[in-house]
């Protein structure tokens, strides 16, 4: 097995908690974050449920102590909160002391402000400041600025697999010796834009999402941000850092099938998993838990399930669950929050339940783990797939 890249810190804010600890407690106690939307005025308020963080923008501004003339989008604020937690958790006090980078992921960027002020811009000079915050990179720049980080900063946007690619790039930057430590993750706020986009595609559930259930009827959107701190072996030794877990494998492939739909056999998903195993130098039977993408759309779960059955063997698939019934699908942040959950699974030797599951899918014999299960966990595989055919897989391992 490949020793992997050390994870030394984590931070998260999601609809099930404002810290790593709160998220863990919610996952353990089956406390879901799917509710009626409050912070965005939408005509769909009665027919959709979302994984919304119950803090208003004003509350986030106060929490971050931002000046009155700030132009942070909600995406940037959520990202800053989670990234600051991660840096603190890793015990970093002087951020530019080593070659430190920030690789963030987002799909909506500052869309929440753009859609709010779109027709107001020409009449209200006070909101013109938000025009520049639409740009995805501006959100990352604000997080970097709040962290005081001056080194390599970039942003990845591959729809719902974005944060997996940010974590992958971070691991590669450390492995190649280009950086000593990297803060990696993603952030996405809820927006009318994505709510209506997914609604128009008819893949929003009118109730609670049911991943891998025969009667699944779509996803709940969510918002979240999460970041990990990755550090080089030299730095871990030098600073005597506690290693929470390791990124041991990663893979990225394209399904090359359709702009938004996954291929029936999940070719992209299969290839991404296969590449991750190759990098990790692990065999499928060594995986103790799969945190599936499991959006609960008819198309994703069928395609992902087929790819998993092909790779692991239908009768040999390890315990798996989707945590999206807790948080909703948080788009570009999904792989980052699920990375945190994967590390929590390893640290606490626990498989989180796939809630809302009743009826097995008729296409294959795959049954998700539906209750909290305690067992030794050495390796967790986490999948994330997005529009544009983008498929990514990460493997997390216990640190020796």
């Amino acid at each position: 097995m490949n020793i992997g890249i050390a994870i030394t810190g984590m931070g998260i804010i999601s609809s099930i908690g404002n810290s790593v600890e709160e998220n863990y407690n919610a996952l353990r106690n089956s406390q879901i974050g799917i509710t009626t939307i409050e912070n965005i005025a939408t005509v769909h308020v009665d027919v959709i449920k979302v994984g919304e963080i119950k803090k208003t923008n004003q509350e986030l501004i106060e929490e971050l102590q931002l000046g009155k003339d700030n132009n942070f989008s909600r995406t940037a604020m959520l990202g800053t909160i989670a990234a600051k937690q991660a840096v603190k958790n890793a015990g970093i006090t002087s951020i530019n002391e080593y070659r430190t980078g920030l690789i963030s992921a987002t799909s909506v960027g500052g869309m929440d402000m753009t859609e709010r002020y779109y027709h107001e811009y020409f009449d209200n000079p006070e909101v013109v400041k938000y025009i520049s915050s639409h740009n995805a990179g501006d959100n990352t720049e604000k997080i970097a600025s709040e962290l005081g980080l001056k080194g390599m900063v970039t942003t990845i946007s591959t729809a719902c697999s974005s944060a997996a690619n940010a974590i992958m790039l971070g691991a590669r930057l450390i492995k190649s010796g280009k950086l000593d430590r990297v803060i990696v993750g993603g952030t996405d706020a809820l927006s009318k834009f994505t709510i209506n986009g997914f609604k128009t595609l008819m893949i929003l559930s009118d109730g609670y999402n049911k991943p891998f259930d025969n009667d699944r009827n779509g996803l709940n959107l969510g918002e979240a941000a999460a970041y990990l701190v990755l550090e080089s072996e030299e730095l871990v030794k030098k600073e005597n850092k506690k290693v929470l877990a390791r990124v041991s494998g990663y893979g990225n492939a394209n399904d090359a099938f359709h702009q938004t739909a996954s291929s029936e056999n999940g070719d992209g998903a299969f290839l991404a998993m296969e590449k991750a195993f190759k990098i990790a130098k692990l065999q499928p039977e060594q995986i103790d838990y799969i945190n599936v993408h499991g959006t609960a759309t008819p198309n994703n779960d069928l395609s992902e399930g087929r790819a998993i059955a092909r790779l692991f063997g239908e009768s040999k698939v390890p315990d798996f669950s989707s945590t999206k019934p807790f948080t909703g699908h948080t788009l570009a942040a999904a792989a980052a929050i699920e990375a945190v959950y994967s590390v929590l699974a390893i640290q606490n030797n626990v498989v989180f339940p796939n809630l809302n599951f009743k009826t097995p899918m008729e296409e294959f014999n795959l049954l998700p783990q539906t209750t909290l299960k305690h067992k030794n966990i050495e390796h967790v595989l986490s999948n994330s797939f997005g529009f544009g055919g983008n498929c990514s897989t990460l493997i997390f391992s216990k640190s020796e």
Binding site: N135, T155, L173, A253, N254, A256, F387, G389
Partner: protein, 354 residues
């Protein structure tokens, strides 16, 4: 460690940059605040049924990538890596406007589907049936350099032997009007909008799609080698020279080894302060080149810059229209590119002849 070579170019810009030698028909337009690109004949590259559904950024990306592949004589690649600052804003605008104007009703998904930043990368993969590594970077002025950096790292890791890397940005009407409102674009009726010696804020805006076919081996058609790429988030004006010197030193080079330097002057009086000192002192004895007066400024305009740099090496000449000073060299071996915007998202790119 494997080296990275540029073996094919594809450039769609405000100038005639395909089926041409090197900017010999370039037109200087200093009267517009926006430079639209010269559209290629899409039906030569994309099936007519598909053309109707695609936004122009997607179409231009597909054409530019096809040109680069053709020049490199490649059918497919081991990775497709794109950079875009604003992404597919034409479709984003269309969908957002429909949401707001129709109170979230009667929407169709087409423009939403194509609004994600990775649409171009995904559509190229779809067209080539390429299931390889596929990534999209979206970080302002280093969107393209992030893609280039990743590509070089992949070749060094020996994860790929051929890679398509490109920068794409498109303009859309409402976004341009917002950029004017916010002062990012120069005010109307104040031309000529000369980049050099500008005393006003804002830029002349542009759009484009520029692709490079990279490989880990030299071929007959090799244009240049990519020696190094570095990205830095934030620098003060006074820090730039030292950063350049140390970037060159890492590559065992000094200022005197540089045969031409391409600077990202965009006509914004404050942003250009970052280049002035370099022009007047650091690189005073080096041929200097600028290019955004031809392409307009946009997040991935520096990909157009790399196209200019590659062409200088390929043709061993600098067209007068891009010259910042009167210096010439007998041969152009090593070229440095420096770009930034408003003091953030700095990139240094070093290329050489082979």
């Amino acid at each position: 460690m494997k080296k990275t070579y540029i073996n094919g170019l594809g450039c769609i810009s405000a100038q005639k940059t395909f089926d041409t030698v090197f900017l010999e028909e370039a037109e200087l337009n200093e009267n517009s605040t926006i430079l639209s690109l010269k559209a290629p004949v899409y039906k030569d590259f994309i099936p007519p049924v598909a053309i109707r559904r695609m936004a122009k950024g997607v179409k231009n990306g597909i054409v530019a990538s096809a040109l680069a592949l053709k020049e490199a004589q490649l059918e497919t690649v081991d990775a497709i890596i794109t950079g875009t600052g604003m992404g597919c804003i034409e479709d984003s605008e269309k969908f957002l406007k429909a949401i707001l104007d129709n109170d979230e009703q009667f929407l169709t998904p087409t423009s939403f589907i194509q609004s994600t930043h990775n649409t171009v990368g995904g559509q190229i993969a779809l067209g080539l049936q390429c299931k390889a590594y596929n990534l999209t970077y979206v970080n302002g002025s280093v969107s393209f350099e992030s893609a280039l950096f990743d590509a070089k790292m992949m070749i060094e890791e020996e994860e790929a032997s051929s890679i398509l890397v490109g920068g794409i940005d498109e303009m859309a009407d409402y976004t341009m009007s917002l950029f004017k409102l916010a002062g990012f674009i120069k005010k109307e009726n104040q031309g000529p909008y000369s980049i050099l010696g500008s005393t006003t804020k804002g830029v002349v805006f542009g759009e484009g799609a520029t692709f490079f076919a990279l490989e880990n081996q030299i071929k007959n058609n090799t244009i240049a080698e990519i020696l190094d790429v570095e990205i830095l988030n934030k620098l003060n004006v006074s820090e730039v020279e030292n950063k350049i010197l140390s970037f060159l030193a890492v590559n065992s080079l000094e200022i005197s080894d540089i045969d031409a330097v391409l600077l990202g002057y965009n006509g914004d009086v404050d942003s250009d302060l970052y280049y002035k000192n370099l022009s007047n002192t650091t690189f005073i004895n080096v041929p200097q080149v600028y290019y955004k007066h031809l392409s307009g400024e946009y997040d991935t305009a520096s990909a157009f810059g790399l196209w200019v740099g590659s062409k200088i090496i390929q043709t061993q000449s600098i067209p007068d229209i891009v010259k910042l000073n009167a210096l010439d060299k007998q041969s152009y071996k090593t070229i440095l590119l420096y770009n930034q915007r408003n003091g953030i998202d700095h990139s240094f790119t070093l290329i050489s002849s082979c």
